[in-house]
């Protein structure tokens, strides 16, 4: 194992009683990478992240973080990690800066180190003006930025972010993306989970798609789109309850058809040509939209269903 592999998992499995949350996945993440777990709720992303954070024991399989086994070297691993869980886990009775100070002390940092570090991170998280305020009245986006700042207090080599932007409004999401992008440029290795396609495309160099505890695809966003989708997609809507009735006349247009409850997707490298063929098909669509293929199309293709949330 080289020094540059920060995370390696082979056959990683997690069960809760009869329920298998993670079903034998293989993953490797290298230093400096930005890696994503993409999948719907219940795909096993958070269970995976908790094992990688060395806070949840592995049921079976092999897991190494910084080349160490979390079962025997949990504290040593956690000392080098930044962990930003799904729930904020802030003490709302304490002030913004106090939350950073107390957390830094958990890592054995000196008082001076914690103070200096907190000053920088408050600046990074754009919370300097609010540092003396209690956490409780902060907005969701501010709390999230504080949690990310807190997870950076120990200058981690690997930062884990479990659904960092879930539940935030669009503006707060963009502020957060900007902060995460800066971290990436500073060379921090990121592992994140998300069920937002745009987030994965924005932040991840490489990602895996998870479904039912298994990895169903792996690669860069671009490679995944190339491999599992076409360059463009035509979205066609009709004034009917069941879009299946138009499957016949549209057959043969583009590379592949996907019938969804509310629309028909036509995968084609030349979207405009396909849209023209739809117009000539004799059906009367309400609307026809040509767009570039996204990760969502990959996801639909791989799991055969629309993404919830």
């Amino acid at each position: 194992m080289t020094d540059d592999v920060l995370l390696s998992a082979k056959g990683l499995t997690k069960t809760f009683g009869d329920f298998t949350a993670v079903d034998g996945i293989d993953v490797e993440v290298r230093r400096g990478e930005s890696f994503g777990f993409l999948g719907p709720n219940g795909a096993g992303k958070s269970s995976t992240m908790r094992m990688v954070a060395a806070v949840s024991p592995v049921t079976s399989g092999e897991l190494r973080i910084f080349g160490q086994d979390p079962a025997t070297h949990g504290p040593a691993i956690r000392a080098r990690l930044g962990n930003c869980p799904q729930q904020d886990r802030l003490d709302e009775e304490l002030s913004v800066e106090e939350n950073l100070w107390v957390y830094g002390r958990f890592f054995g940092l000196t008082r001076a180190e914690v103070r200096a570090r907190a000053d920088e991170l408050l600046d990074f998280a754009q919370l300097t003006e609010r540092r003396k305020d209690k956490v409780e009245p902060l907005s969701g986006g501010m709390k999230r930025r504080l949690v990310i700042a807190r997870s950076l207090i120990n200058n981690p080599e690997l930062l884990l972010l479990d659904e960092p932007t879930t539940g935030l409004d669009p503006q707060a999401r963009h502020v957060l993306w900007d902060r995460l992008f800066r971290l990436k440029r500073q060379g921090v290795t990121l592992i994140l989970t998300t069920h937002y396609m745009d987030e994965a495309e924005q932040l991840c160099d490489r990602l895996v798609v998870m479904d039912h505890g298994r990895i169903v695809a792996e690669g860069s966003p671009r490679a995944l789109i190339q491999e599992h989708s076409t360059r463009e997609v035509v979205e066609v809507r009709y004034d009917v309850d069941d879009h299946g009735v138009h499957a016949g006349p549209l057959e043969g247009i583009g590379d592949r058809l996907e019938i969804l409850p509310d629309r028909v997707l036509i995968y084609a490298d030349d979207g405009d040509a396909a849209a023209g063929a739809v117009a000539r098909s004799g059906t009367e669509p309400l609307s026809t939209l040509v767009r570039r293929s996204t990760l969502e199309d990959v996801f639909l293709h791989l799991t055969g269903r629309t993404l919830v949330d």
């Binding site: 809760f16 956690r78 009775e93 200058n155």
Partner: protein
Amino acid sequence: MSALPESPRSRLVHGERRPLSAVERTWGLVGFHLTLLRRTWRGLVVSRFLTPVLFLAAMGIGIGRLVDRSSGGVAGVPYLQYVVPGIVMASAMQWAVGESTWPVMTLIKWNQMYAAMLAAPTRVADVLRAHWVVVSFGIAWGSGVFIAIAALFGGVRSWWALLGVPIAVLTAMAFVAPLFWFAARTDNEEGFTTIFRLVITPLMLFSGTFFPVSQLPIWLQPVAWVTPLWHGTELARPAFLGDPLDPGHGAGWAIHLAVLTAYVVVGGWGAHRAFRARLEA
């Protein structure tokens, strides 16, 4: 992030980091509780401190005068001196219960700060140890100050009463450890109100705090014997009266000490198990 002035020994330097000693881990977590305490101590002083003083005045002085007039005191001493160790132990118990119910639930469930601690290089044992160190110091401080107040009112007759401080801590921990166990296994905090009213209040009233257990109906007496509060009070009372080993009761003190220790050890074992099950799933 700009470079900090890091010494090579700093735990901010990338690569394998210097492991934390048990003392460092505990101290880091204690820091959290102390920071929180800085915000909440005023309310705590009022609720945890005024109650024993009020009981001292009502029971020790008010009722004490009636008891002394009718019966010439209890066990050969004025009632006030008889009841002070009882109030010290009962308050330690109440303080213990206050610390190990809602606050623990908050850290487990509502703000999940225990989980945040475990994301750092700490283990469940450190988390429990740190919390219990803080609770123990609070109780030691509280009972010390209360004993001093009681002494001002003439409720203490011997310097041995200072042993009341460690005994109060031990008695409190005999409640804290099992209650942490319970808190980690419960999801419904309404149960706490019922515990307070239906368990803790009767314990205070019937465990030899205010009158000897021998006054109770014979069938109730064995109930008192299993409660940590009775053992704590029985252990403390001879000390407060000037004779900690109380030769009149043979090796009684050793039994009390053993029972209280057993509560702490078994409770601590269970709490550790329950915390691991709940927080390290």
